[in-house]
Amino acid sequence: MSDGDSDVALKLLHTADWHLGMRFTNFAEEHQLTLMRARMDVLDNIFGAAESGDVDAVLCAGDLFDDPSPEEAWWRGLLEKLTARDWSNRPVFLLPGNHDPLTDKSLWHPDHPFRRDLPPGVHVVDRDDFTAPLGTDAVLYASPCRTRAGQTGLWRQLPTREEGDTRIRVGMIHGQTMDIEGFQNTFPIPAHAAEDRGLDYLAIGDTHAFREVPPGARYPIVYPSAPEPTKFGETDAGYVALVFFPRGGRRPLIRQQRVGRWRWIERTVRSLDELRSLASEPDLGQRVLRLRVELDASVSEYEAVEQLLRTLGGTEATHGRVGVLQVDRTGLRLRADDLEQAFAELPDELMQVVHRLREQADGEDAEAAKRALYHLYRVVREAR
């Protein structure tokens, strides 16, 4: 426990939902790799924050792997990062979640090389009544997920406060606080769980946004969020919680600290100017951008759009400005109204081709005809 700061009795770093090894199959292969590696890279920020914050312990509240038996690269990578630091005076507690539950075949099993090779100070919550001291005046109670399907009453496995017990009591489980509409509550945790069990702080994981449940509670239940988002819509992800327990049994102070690099955003552009404006935005290299282009463009505008999209997304030879770009062009339509100007001074034969395609652009095969016009425009433009 820290001695330097007389007002603070205990400092913790609370993190969860690393989802190491998670695959992003709806992205291109190179981007899949980028996003998978990002989940491993962010661990350096998390562990660095633990060191720079001089916390007394690191609580990792479940779903650290996306699967209970991940590929070796992922658990080996985590093992290397854990082994590279000294945890003997700053214990780390790893909690199996519903994605990586504690089973006989999981990497949490004592015979698994990951578990065997964990450095001193790194502990796996492998008992329903897991208890560990956090110094002399604080204690951690935790209980692991043992299945993917669902477990009720996990929180009840944390013991209640006995009369006369004045220690700081911290709980750690994985599950849902049942207050988010649309989320399945397969591992339910009621909002009064911390107070009910006499816990000064209940560290949980599962949903990927930073939240206190209920907000401002005397006995808070906290989701620290996933340190890197896993999908679009996870707007409040990318954090860990730094928790400061003041002396005198007062409510802990919770600080939301950013550790993630990537931000996942969805944008729709409806004009060329909007697209240009987007292309000039800063920090695009740290964005996972799902871009929907809804635009009726002339051939020249279409070419400009494609050029900007190449600038944003890169090509086989160049990196794009956006870190990871996913473009939905279904709303990008070609107008055939400025062809005269675009194809001025073409040879007669090619103008005949243009006229024929333009006629088809109003017919049954309109989209292919417009695309053909665009191809023709580009080839001619490049040839000149």
Binding site: P282, Q326, R356, A368, A372, V380, A383
Partner: protein, 1057 residues
């Protein structure tokens, strides 16, 4: 098509010949009259001539009965074909066409007349089918047959033919197919090639989407397949999971139903049990009421009995003295009687002996009265004792009242103390809250300062970005200005400089100086051109000087041009000029520059601008790479924190908080901790005061109860109701005093009676008898009185004993408590209303049975739910749902990509189709296509003198293109015509990718151009097979010939007859 071998027997002048052909250039050489053209004719005959054709007659050996025969092997469309023909009349000739895939085993394809039909179909040269148009007599004709197998005698017959003359369209179709890409405008061709390349990437020859490795559709198909498999696998898992969930939901619903049913049963059962319990409780309460009432009644009865016994006792006690008195009286009377009798006897004696019986009697009466008074005084003494008990009870009541008053006073004191402690705790809490607010205020101030720092950092970052953007815009503008002019790069500029220097030097090398002296008739006015300058008319005797070129034009006669320098230097100069015109002038004209120096200056300026652009971009990147932007999240988090604290402090006096913070800059936290400790201490004090007050209040209640008991005791001890104790005491004292006075008076009277004794002696004796009788009577009365006294004593003893028993019982009775118990029990009984329906044992058992049944059913349902929950663990649950959703999105994304790819390539295909359609409709101008190739080569061959052949749409030759326009063929020499014809034939063969047979095709060509042709043919032979028959092998076989040239000495292969 490639020739592989030919075997000839008895064909014209050839007795036998055997030649193996190689790829590339085959040079078959031999002296004149060896049979080279006969060999070429044999090849043509094998491919074109029907074995029974009369056109084969010239090849029948002189004076020999043998039939000319040829066996030709060739590769076509991936197969090795062998055609064997023996020419002769219908009875002797024969034809066989065979094919082989391995070169050793042949299969017959056709025999006899079918051979030529099949051959012409295979060749696709526009030859008529045997018997069709084009004639069956002699060699069939077509444009391609002429081009590819042209005869030696008329190498340029190709000019006399066109595809339009072909009897069949296959030749044109092949050429159209082969040349179409060349038939259009270069830009059109470029577009066509681009479209074709993209279509070839994605579609098969039949127009279907290509699934070969590397094709875009294959890539997206693999992607979709993989994603679909993953999605379907997960969907299956999800389906399994959903099935289990569905089953689980059913089971859960069933469990819920059973739970509800059990709850209903349980509710009924509990209602029943409640009713039973109510009944039981009511019975207990009723029993309690009864018992309490019985106890109360018993107490009352005991009290009544005690009262009765006390009364009886009192009465008996009262009777005792009465009886005693009566006994005494009787005894007294007996004694009196005895006495009177004795006195009478004595009086009699006395009297008789001198005594006074009358006096004695009076004395006895007075003595009796004395005793009565003494008894009355004893009663007064008893009453005085009762009065003393009353006084004691009264004093006890007073003491209890005082104790009650003291307890009330103490309770009031504790109440005040409690209120004071509570106020102190409230004050401490207020102080603590104020300090907490001050802490939050200090935190708010800190956050505001951090927010301001964050805002400053953000402004600085925005300023850097703006500066970087300005740098970039400046760079872009500068770059745009450098690229807009389209200046060539530095290397290209240097290359132009080399061309220009070459032109300058080559021209300088020509400068030898020319002088022309004219001596003409005066009527003749020639015009001269000097060194390429404009024509000028000169006089008939003029002398004209020039550096390199002089030309003179004589009206109606013609023009004479003289050029200085040797031919090689001229060609070099022409070549340099040509290169300059082709490479340099268009650049300067395009840039509207008048010199190469100006171009070089512009390029140098452009390079400087590019360096500046790079510098600006480096600076912009340096600005971009400056200190990182403060995180918007941090700002938002600060705003949220500030807003949160501001909201919490909205109703607080901020001035007061600021003052507190200022006063306690460093010790606020410890003050807050102290205040919190003070709160807890005051709360403890308040709690203690509350406890003390509660204890005092309890003491008041106890004192009150004691006071009430004392009051009851005082009331019980009262001798008389409604009369004060002092009054009673005074009355007793008065009575005592009255009795004393009376007793004194009786005693005085007794003394007087003695005086009268003597007077009565006389009567004594009389009285003695009466006294004896009275004694007897008194004895009876005394006996009776003693009996009465004994009964009275018995009654007193009995009543006292019973009263003692009752008193003993009464000591264990608490009538108030019992009364309260009765009241409580009655109250409880009132609060427990009787159940609406009475429940009997049978109903209880039935209900219990129903509950057990419902419980068993519920446990069964719960077991089923748990089993299904166990099954759900094996199929994934929420994790699989999330992954399935992701897999579906991935598949949708792949489908979107497929649609995009499909649309993209559909666009390319449609573009290609449209290009083809337009091309076909506007006419497949094969002449234009082939013409460009021919023109390039012809211009090169002629050093620019000729610019190609003017070819029609069907490759009909219209003339030769010269700088002066298209010139008719007949205006050119045989050499030029055979050279042009050869170029055309080579070009056509190249386009078709087929072999070309050249039989002494450059007989009229000078060695210099023959050398050019050698290079050209070697170059072309890299693509196609060319068979050259020549008597001048040196034209082709020189040192340095490439390995692709196969030299075949026909002198060794041909046996001439």
């Amino acid at each position: 098509m490639k020739l592989r071998s030919v075997e000839v027997r008895d064909f014209g002048a050839i007795e036998s010949a055997s030649v193996e052909f190689g790829d590339g250039l085959n040079v078959l050489y031999g002296p004149n009259d060896l049979g080279k053209s006969t060999l070429a004719a044999a090849i043509r005959a094998a491919l074109l001539l029907q074995h029974g054709s009369s056109a084969a007659r010239p090849y029948v050996p002189w004076g020999s009965p043998r039939k000319p025969s040829v066996e030709l092997s060739f590769e076509l469309e991936g197969r090795l074909w062998r055609v064997s023909k023996a020419f002769g009349s219908s009875s002797g000739g024969k034809s066989v066409l065979e094919w082989s895939n391995d070169g050793s085993t042949f299969t017959t394809q056709e025999e006899g007349r079918g051979v030529d039909g099949k051959l012409r179909e295979l060749l696709g040269w526009g030859l008529a089918a045997p018997g069709g148009r084009g004639g069956t007599h002699g060699f069939p004709k077509s444009f391609l047959a002429t081009v590819l197998l042209g005869e030696q005698a008329l190498p340029y017959r190709v000019f006399e033919q066109s595809l339009d003359d072909d009897p069949e369209d296959s030749g044109k179709a092949r050429l159209v197919e082969a040349l179409q890409a060349l038939a259009a405008d270069p830009l059109y061709q470029h577009v066509l090639e681009a479209a074709q390349a993209r279509v070839d990437e994605a579609f098969t020859a039949k127009g279907k989407r290509s699934t070969r490795k590397g094709s875009p559709f294959e890539r997206v198909a693999i992607d979709i397949r993989q994603r679909r498999e993953a999605s379907e696998g997960l969907a299956q898992q999800l389906s399994d999971s959903d099935a289990v969930v569905s089953r689980l939901a059913e089971l859960a619903a069933r469990r819920d139903q059973r739970m509800a049913a059990r709850a209903e049963v349980l509710e009924r059962h509990e209602a029943l049990l409640e009713a039973v319990e109510l009944q039981r409780q009511r019975a207990l309460l009723q029993a309690e009421v009864d018992e309490a009432e019985t106890a109360l009644r018993e107490i009352e009865r005991n009290r009544d009995e005690m009262d009765r016994l006390r009364a009886a006792s009192s009465e008996a006690r009262a009777q005792v003295p009465i009886c005693e008195s009566a006994v005494e009286t009787a005894a007294q009377e007996l004694r009196d009687a005895h006495a009177r009798r004795d006195r009478a006897e004595a009086a009699s004696k006395t009297l008789r002996a001198g005594g006074d019986e009358q006096g004695d009697l009076e004395q006895q009466q007075l003595a009796s009265r004395t005793r009565e008074l003494e008894a009355a005084r004893a009663e007064v003494d008893r009453e005085r004792q009762s009065l003393q008990r009353w006084r004691a009870a009264d004093e006890a009541m007073g003491a209890a009242a005082e104790a009650l008053e003291r307890a009330r006073s103490t309770a009031a004191s504790h109440e005040q103390e409690r209120d004071r402690a509570q106020r102190a705790a409230t004050d401490a809490e207020t102080r603590h809250a104020e300090l907490q607010d001050a802490q939050r205020w200090a935190e708010l101030e800190s956050l505001r300062e951090r927010r301001a720092q964050w805002q400053r950092a953000r402004s600085q970052a925005e300023e850097r970005r703006a500066r970087a953007e300005v740098q970039r815009q400046e760079a872009e503008a500068l770059e745009l200005s450098t690229t807009q002019r389209g200046l060539p790069d530095t290397e290209a500029c240097a290359a132009l400089r080399e061309v220009w220097d070459e032109l300058r030097l080559s021209k300088a090398a020509l400068g030898g100086g020319l002088t022309m002296t004219l001596a003409m008739p005066a009527s003749t006015v020639p015009r001269v051109g000097v060194d390429g300058a404009a024509w000028e008319s000169v006089g008939a005797d003029a002398v004209v000087d020039a550096q390199a070129e002089l030309a003179v034009e004589f009206p109606d006669l013609g023009r004479l041009t003289v050029v200085a320098g040797d031919p090689a230097a001229r060609r070099r100069a022409e070549s340099a000029l040509s290169r300059w015109r082709a490479e340099g002038e268009p650049v300067l004209q395009g840039l509207e520059l008048d010199s190469l120096d100006a171009l070089e200056k512009a390029v140098a300026e452009r390079d400087e601008a590019r360096a500046r652009v790079a510098e600006l971009r480096r600076e912009a990147r340096a600005l971009d790479d400056g200190a990182p932007d403060p995180s918007p999240d941090e700002g938002a988090a600060l705003d949220r924190s500030i807003a949160g604290i501001e909201t919490s402090l909205a109703d607080v006096d901020s001035g007061r908080l600021a003052e507190l913070v200022a006063q306690h800059t460093d010790g606020l936290s410890s003050l807050c901790t102290d205040a919190e400790a003070e709160v807890r201490a005051q709360q403890r004090s308040s709690e203690a005061a509350r406890s003390a007050w509660t204890a005092a209040h309890t003491e008041v209640r106890v004192a009150t109860e004691r006071h009430l008991g004392a009051v009851r005791d005082e009331r019980a001890a009262r001798i008389r109701e409604e009369v004060p104790l002092a009054t009673v005491a005074e009355e007793l004292q008065a009575r005592d005093r009255a009795l004393g006075a009376e007793l004194d008076q009786v005693r005085a009277e007794l003394a007087i009676a003695g005086q009268r004794h003597a007077q009565r002696l006389a009567a004594a004796e009389e009285t003695e008898q009466a006294a004896a009788a009275a004694v007897s009577k008194a004895q009876s009365a005394e006996t009776e009185a003693r009996s009465s006294l004994a009964r009275a004593h018995q009654a007193v003893t009995s009543a006292t004993a019973q009263l003692e028993v009752r008193r003993e019982q009464a000591q264990h009775h608490d009538p108030l408590a019992v009364a309260e118990r009765v009241a409580r029990a009655q109250d409880a009984l009132r609060q427990h209303p009787a159940p609406a329906v009475a429940v009997d044992e049978e109903q209880q058992q039935a209900s219990h049975g129903q509950l057990q049944q419902a419980t068993v059913e519920l446990e069964e349902a719960e077991t089923a739910v748990r089993q299904q929950e166990g099954a759900l663990q094996h199929v994934g649950g929420q994790v699989v749902r999330e992954r399935a959703q992701m897999a579906r999105e991935a598949l949708d994304e792949a489908h979107r990509r497929e649609s995009e790819v499909a649309l993209d390539y559909d666009g390319w295909r449609l573009l290609l189709q449209t290009l083809r359609t337009v091309e076909n409709e506007t006419g497949a101008h094969l002449g234009r296509a082939l013409g460009s190739t021919v023109a390039t080569r012809f211009a090169e061959l002629s050093a620019g003198r000729y610019q190609g052949a003017a070819l029609g749409a069907d490759l009909e030759t219209e003339g030769v293109v010269t700088p002066q326009g298209v010139q008719r063929l007949d205006r050119f020499s045989e050499g030029v015509k055979e050279q042009l014809a050869t170029l055309m034939r080579v070009s056509v063969a190249e386009q078709l990718g087929t072999m070309l047979l050249l039989d002494d095709h450059l007989a009229q060509t000078d060695p210099q151009r023959a050398q050019w042709f050698r290079h050209q043919l070697q170059h072309s032979a890299e693509q196609i097979q060319i068979v050259v028959l020549t008597c001048r092998p040196d034209d082709y076989l020189v040192d340095g010939s490439s390995g692709a040239v196969h030299a075949i000495d026909l002198a060794k292969s041909v046996q001439r007859r």
